[in-house]
């Protein structure tokens, strides 16, 4: 419950912080922290332009997308307090719900019959497809490490004791961050700033959405950011008391946002054709994580 | 009784040669069928009662005779449907039916004969009468086929005779100079194996001409191709059985001697090679009748394989033999219709038979299922027993190779059959033929039904007869 509300709140400031960081990094006086939220609010009040080729799918997809993200957020725990949805294997639901939303977004992009959006859709489908094994193997190895299969229990039982476990923590965090970047199609994979349709992934998918729908989609994107942020946070919170967790959580989220901003302003985007390899690297990294866990538990016979 | 039967049928044959009237001819046919059945029933009732010195209707001969009598009905009946709507020349017809009768008669006698030389004589007579049937169409192709058939068969029968002579040399050692099978069975263990081996080699190779195995199967293919379909139906079923009877009786004798193992190995090799050759040509031939002929080679290979494998294989061999006779003859009879429809035996010029003659096409479909031993064909049961025998006697390697070959054969046969049944021939879509009445296919359906019935639910009497006919081998 707490986590849900917190994520909702954080999601409002998250993009603002990123943009702020970037502007500072590039020596500009950027917009206010809440500017993105204002944009979304404005969008929500606007009318919309829609293409003749589109059909009902184009209309419903954004709502379902947002719903899927919200459900996914509900799964997340925070320290002692479970998420709204918590049961053994809930992260499977987490992944598949997100996939369902993405499925419809891809279809809505195809619905416009535009070559650019098709391009974006195909990239989105391929990349997220490649990212999924990484996530599952990561969760599998966490399950192996802790002996539980729900976010809440896993994170509760997570202890970092030995030196190897710190290494594991770093790897896990890296994988999670990168998955987050892929899912939100941010920096190393895709750059929202470049307004060249041929090189974009997510932005080009939603070229034709406007007004309320666009607002929904953007808010969903922000939520996703915060969601992955909270995953990373949970990785470190463990079973601290609540009065510690909440500030820690917020802190980590903000730190994450800053990190993303820094990353975006000081690194360059991959060539589109290299993305696939990069994402596959994540899977192998998570395999490393798994082997590390085996080593840690001494399960090698 | 047997003398009555022989003389009677010879007389009927003579009348057929002489007579030119169509109705009389039909009556003669009916009369002969009655005679044939009387004899079968009589032999069934007087089992193992010696007829004079040279004949004993034992279990095997009874099985074979009844099979023959069953198949001869559609063969003779269909002879009218296929050949005599076109050129109905009384003389040719007389010769045809006359030699048909002589063929059936001599087959019966050869089954029943209890003296190795008497069997030989009647087998030789089958060669002569069969060649008359092959020659029926009197064109260059049939002449060639006839020529080859007579020549190869005569040579092979000379082999058989040489074999018999060696056997009697072997008998010469002990003062026993009558070559009844019963006596041979009794004295066999004490005979000189050198002569026995020689004898077996010659007899076996001689009979392969009738049985349709390598090395002498060659002429039989041409014969089945060129003979009219009803005759071909007999050739590919009961005429092969006579070869089997010859081999089987000899095998019975040798099974009691010290060279039993050697005999098994020889037969195993031959049978396997025959299946291989059949597969080779199955992949090659484009002529329906020749394709069926090669499939007969394959099945005879399986039969002899079963015999060599022993155990339950003995039972399987005879069962498979009988079922194959029914299935194959029914297919050949249907090929007669096919030929009537398309005026060709070449697969390329036959197509979409399903459109012109539905019952016939369905029959070919079922015939294909039966002959390739897919369930519910009864031959599936017999092949199952063969597998079991092969596994039981430790010939697993042979079994695997055989399965591969059988699969190839099914594939090749299936391609051709379904091409003929379904895919229309370009340029011949508008083919106008007189519709074949479904009744003409009825008898063939009955034969196939027999295959299924005898395979799945054999009546006790039938099974007992088979068991009794292999009684000498289980020792």
């Amino acid at each position: 419950m707490i986590s849900f509300i917190l994520v909702l709140i954080v999601s409002l400031v998250f993009p603002g912080i990123i943009i702020r960081t970037k502007s500072i990094a590039s020596g500009r006086k950027g917009p206010g922290i809440l500017q993105p939220v204002r944009d979304i609010a404005r969008l929500l009040q606007k009318g919309s332009v829609s293409s003749e080729t589109t059909t009902l799918i184009f209309q419903v997809a954004p709502s379902i997308y947002l719903a899927s993200v919200l459900i996914a957020v509900m799964v997340l725990p925070l320290g002692h307090s479970k998420g709204l949805i918590s049961f053994p294997g809930d992260f499977i639901l987490f992944a598949y719900i997100l996939a369902a939303g993405k499925f419809l977004m891809i279809l809505s992009a195809m619905d416009t019959g535009s070559s650019f959006e098709g391009m974006g859709a195909s990239r989105e489908a391929l990349f997220s497809m490649l990212a999924e094994p990484a996530f599952f193997i990561l969760m599998g190895s966490l399950a192996l490490m802790t002996g539980f299969t729900s976010f809440h229990q896993v994170f509760m039982a997570l202890h970092f004791g030995s030196s190897i476990s710190y290494a594991l923590g770093v790897i896990g965090m890296f994988v999670l961050i990168m998955i987050c970047m892929v899912e939100n199609s941010r920096m190393p994979v895709d750059d929202p700033k470049t307004h060249l349709e041929l090189t974009m992934v997510h932005e080009v998918m939603i070229l034709d959405n406007s007004g309320f729908d666009l607002g929904l989609i953007m808010q969903a994107g922000n939520l996703k950011f915060a969601m992955y942020g909270s995953l990373i946070a949970n990785l470190f919170l463990g079973d601290l008391p609540v009065y510690l967790t909440i500030p820690l959580f917020v802190g980590i989220q903000l730190l994450f946002a800053v990190v993303v901003g820094v990353l975006e302003s000081f690194s360059a985007r991959f060539r589109m054709s290299h993305n696939a390899q990069f994402i596959l690297v994540l899977s192998s990294l998570s395999l490393m994580f798994f082997l590390g866990v085996l080593l840690m538990l001494g399960k090698f016979i | 009784m047997i003398l009555l039967y022989l003389t009677g049928s010879v007389l009927i044959a003579l009348c057929m040669f002489l007579n030119t009237n169509r109705r009389v001819n039909r009556m003669l046919i009916a009369g002969f069928l009655v005679l044939q059945w009387i004899w079968s029933v009589y032999s069934l009732t007087h089992k193992n009662v010696p007829e004079y010195i040279f004949f004993i209707p034992d279990a095997l001969s009874i099985l074979m005779t009844v099979t023959l009598s069953i198949i001869s009905i559609p063969a003779l009946v269909h002879s009218y449907d296929y050949i005599y709507p076109e050129h109905d020349n009384p003389r040719v017809r007389g010769i045809y039916f006359g030699s048909m009768v002589v063929l059936i008669m001599s087959l019966t006698a050869a089954y029943v004969a209890s003296h190795i030389a008497v069997t030989w004589i009647f087998v030789e007579i089958t060669t002569l009468s069969a060649s008359a049937l092959i020659f029926h169409r009197r064109n260059s192709g049939s002449i060639e086929a006839t020529w080859k058939y007579i020549f190869v068969c005569s040579i092979s029968l000379v082999f058989v005779f040489i074999g018999i002579l060696f056997l009697s040399i072997a008998l010469g050692d002990i003062r026993e100079n009558d070559m009844q099978y019963s006596i041979l069975l009794r004295v066999a263990p004490s005979l000189n194996t050198f002569w026995l081996k020689l004898a077996f080699i010659f007899i076996f190779i001689g009979y392969t001409a009738k049985l349709g195995l390598i090395p002498m199967y060659t002429a039989g293919i041409d014969a089945k191709d060129k003979a009219p379909s009803p005759a071909a139906a007999l050739f590919s079923s009961v005429l092969m059985n006579v070869g089997f009877v010859g081999v089987f009786r000899c095998y019975e004798v040798l099974a009691h001697t010290s060279i039993h193992k050697w005999v098994d190995q020889v037969m195993l090799t031959t049978a396997f090679l025959s299946i291989f050759v059949a597969a080779v040509y199955m992949l090659k031939v484009k002529n329906v009748k020749r394709m069926l002929a090669y499939s007969s080679i394959e099945h005879m290979g399986i039969v002899i394989l079963a015999l060599a494998a022993g155990g339950i294989g003995y039972y399987a061999a005879i069962l498979h033999l009988i079922l194959h006779s029914f299935a194959k003859s029914s297919l050949f009879l249907q090929v007669g219709h096919l030929y009537k429809t398309f005026r060709s035996k070449n697969i390329y010029s036959i197509g979409n038979y399903f459109r012109y003659n539905v019952p016939g096409a369905v029959l070919i479909l079922f015939g294909f299922i039966c002959i390739t031993a897919m369930p519910p064909s009864g031959m599936f049961i017999s092949e199952l027993m063969v597998f079991r025998a092969l596994i039981g006697s430790g010939y697993t390697g042979i079994l695997i190779l055989m399965l591969i070959l059988l699969t190839l054969i099914v594939w090749a046969m299936g391609k051709n059959i379904f091409k003929m049944l379904f895919i229309p021939v370009p340029g011949r879509e508008d083919l106008h033929v007189e519709a074949v009445s479904p009744y003409e296919t009825l008898l063939q359906y009955l034969l196939l039904a027999l295959v299924v019935y005898l395979g799945i639910a054999p009546p006790a009497g039938f099974a007992d007869l088979i068991k009794e006919s292999i009684i000498n081998l289980n020792h």
Binding site: P88, L93, G113, L130, K299 | A457, P458
Partner: protein, 651 residues
């Protein structure tokens, strides 16, 4: 008319068989022994929960298939003979499949099996004046024949050892003989049934047979026929209850390969039905994973694992039979409307046939395993099986499991890619070629069974607990030889599953809510209709939109080394370029190397011997002479060799 009679027959058979099946699922098995004949021996019939489960799903698919077939076969009334044969074999196939599920005597089992095979063969070759169809049909027939031979050999082996054709003989075999033998037997059985089920590398008949067959037949085949293979494997595992661990590892690994390979090839297909066929292979892989987990659970004596595995496998069997038949039926609607199956030629069909599009969407989300549909439930069970396995088993199997997790998640992602491609290219966007449209949408009679299936799909997705309850007995039967301690873990894992349905419901209602809000909010606002934003280009044509092939181009580049994709291309060149094109022909490497290549070699080898029947009499005689001489000479040679050996020994 004939169709109606056939439907009646199917209904009667279904009714007769369903009653005992339901009773079995409620806990009372039906046993009956026919006395049989000399050959077969007694024929025990048995309807236990396992066969009951399969009987029910078979009946459902057959009924829907028949109802859909009624309208599908309308255009062919001008071929009465073919149509009647089609319906006759449809009914026979139904009877045969049910018999296979019921009978416990190997000979009758093989008979029923073959009746089923031949029936389906006739169904597949309905459009039998096409050489292509016949070719596919024969391919199917021969591969099934190989399967039958393998089954026959293994049954014969059993009967030769244990002396009976009844199924108990198999378990007796397993008990009395060495375990290595029963493992070998299991492998032979698996190969035989695997050909039917379409496990890689025995899958090659599927992608040929399905496009050739009429749509309701392909729906039926891919819905239930290949499941019979699964049934056989489960039955054999049940009978040969030894060395589970080895079997489990084998099945799990081959299933992972099957799943990945199937979906990898599915993506690059151009023919819709071929694509669906390859997806059947993929789903067989998923089912196989479930079975593998189950076996490993049995082997390691871990009831919870076994239960999850078997439950997932069985449930996915049902699910796949539902959404796959629905997909094929909708494909049938499409092919009836526009007479092609080439995905790249469609486009914008959703306007012409909205109902079909809607049903196809549901089915494709289900097959991707997305909530709130049934595919998600079974994949969830299998996934949790994997995670339990990782938690609770030792080192080697852990690696196996993590590979399986990798495979299954990859499969899920690729499936999404594949079906976004299919749905997007077929139904969305604008029409690429103006194909002549016969009828917009099928009559309500033809749509009715489709809606029924869709309803069931959604029902399983939302209320899984009901079906899980039905699954209880079969799973308990499969894990019968384990201590009942694991039942508890089963209970709570099933409680979890019932909650999944709840959350899916929540998902639906939440998105509904948001959509409502959207409607309210944007109610009064202006909505400007305009052309799709062409990024500045003002004259976009239908030909410009992303095609299916271009949609998967990036993937193809990745996967090319693993697949055999033939390409023909002509690039744009010169100042006034001519017509440029680029074609890809997805091939199947396994088929090439496992079937075509050896077959070619074999034929060449056998061709060498075709000089024998050369028509020359001299040769015919020579064969005999050579044969005699060999037979006479060989023993003499042996004797001489002995003689010489003797001589040498004397010196």
């Amino acid at each position: 008319m004939k169709g109606k009679i056939a439907v009646l027959g199917v209904l009667v058979i279904a009714a007769v068989s369903s009653i005992p099946a339901v009773r079995a699922l409620l806990g009372t098995d039906t046993r009956y022994v026919l006395e049989g004949t000399l050959v077969t021996g007694p024929i025990p019939l048995l309807i236990d929960p396992l066969s009951a489960w399969f009987i029910l799903l078979i009946n459902f698919t057959f009924i829907t298939g028949a109802l859909y077939g009624l309208s599908y076969m309308q255009p062919y009334e001008n071929r009465p003979a073919a149509v009647s044969m089609h319906w006759i074999s449809y009914v026979f196939t139904h009877a045969g499949i049910l018999t296979v599920c019921v009978v416990q005597n190997s000979i009758i089992f093989l008979f029923a099996w073959e009746v089923m095979t031949l029936g389906t063969f006739l169904l597949v070759t309905f459009d039998n004046t096409q050489a292509r169809t016949i070719k596919a049909g024969i391919n199917y027939l021969i591969q099934s024949h190989v399967a039958v031979l393998l089954l026959t050999v293994s049954f014969v082996w059993v009967s030769a050892q244990a002396g009976s054709y009844s199924f108990e003989a198999i378990s007796r075999f397993a008990l009395t003989r060495d375990h290595a033998f029963s493992l070998l037997l299991m492998l032979i059985f698996f190969t035989g049934f695997g050909i039917k089920a379409g496990f890689v590398p025995f899958h090659t008949w599927l992608p040929l047979a399905h496009p050739a067959a009429p749509s309701h037949v392909s729906g039926m085949m891919s819905g239930v026929l290949i499941k019979i293979g699964i049934y056989g494997i489960l039955r054999m595992i049940l009978l040969l209850n030894v060395n589970y661990l080895a079997t489990g590892f084998f099945i799990l690994s081959i299933s992972v390969v099957t799943g990945i390979y199937g979906v990898m090839l599915a993506i690059v297909q151009h023919n819709l039905k071929r694509l669906l066929a390859y997806h059947s292979i993929e789903n067989i892989g998923i089912i196989g994973m479930g079975i593998g987990i189950g076996c490993i659970g049995m082997g390691t004596g871990n009831p919870g694992l076994a239960l999850l595995g078997y439950a997932g496998a069985l449930l996915h069997t049902l699910n796949h039979s539902l959404f796959k038949s629905l997909l094929f039926f909708t494909a049938g609607n499409i092919s009836k409307a526009v007479h092609t199956m080439t995905i790249d030629r469609f486009g914008g069909l959703i306007r012409k046939m909205p109902q079909t599009a809607f049903l196809f969407l549901i089915a494709s989300m289900a097959i991707c395993g997305l909530p709130p549909f049934n595919g998600f439930v079974s994949e969830f069970i299998i996934f949790s099986g994997f995670f339990n396995g990782i938690r609770e088993t030792g080192f080697p199997s852990v690696l196996m499991f993590v590979l399986a997790i990798f495979g299954l998640s990859l499969i899920g992602g690729l499936a999404i890619l594949c079906f976004t491609k299919a749905f997007g290219a077929i139904f969305l966007g604008t029409q690429r070629f103006n194909l002549e449209q016969r009828d917009k949408e099928g009559s309500w009679q033809s749509m009715l069974p489709l809606y029924a299936i869709a309803l069931l799909i959604l029902a399983i997705g939302l209320f899984p607990q009901v079906f899980i309850k039905m699954l209880l007995l079969p799973v308990v039967q499969l894990t019968g030889s384990l201590p009942a301690s694991g039942r508890g873990s089963m209970e709570d894992s099933f409680r979890v599953i019932s909650r999944i349905g709840l959350y899916s419901l929540g998902f639906i209602s939440l998105s509904g809510l948001i959509y409502m809000i959207r409607k309210k909010a944007t109610g009064g606002r202006p909505v400007v209709e305009g052309p799709t934003w062409g990024c500045g280009y003002v004259a976009p044509t239908a030909r410009m939109q992303y095609t299916a092939s271009s949609f998967i181009r990036n993937y193809r580049k990745l996967a090319e080394p693993l697949l055999a994709i033939g390409k023909h291309r002509k690039d744009v060149d010169g100042v006034f370029p001519g017509r440029a094109y680029h074609e890809t022909h997805p091939g199947d490497k396994v088929e090439e190397y496992l079937i075509h290549y050896p077959l070619r070699k074999l034929r060449v080898f056998m061709g060498r011997f075709s000089f024998l029947q050369n028509g020359k009499l001299q040769f015919y005689i020579l064969y005999g002479m050579i044969f005699i001489i060999v037979l006479v000479a060989v023993p003499l040679m042996v004797d001489m060799a002995r003689l010489l050996a003797g001589l040498f020994q004397t010196f």
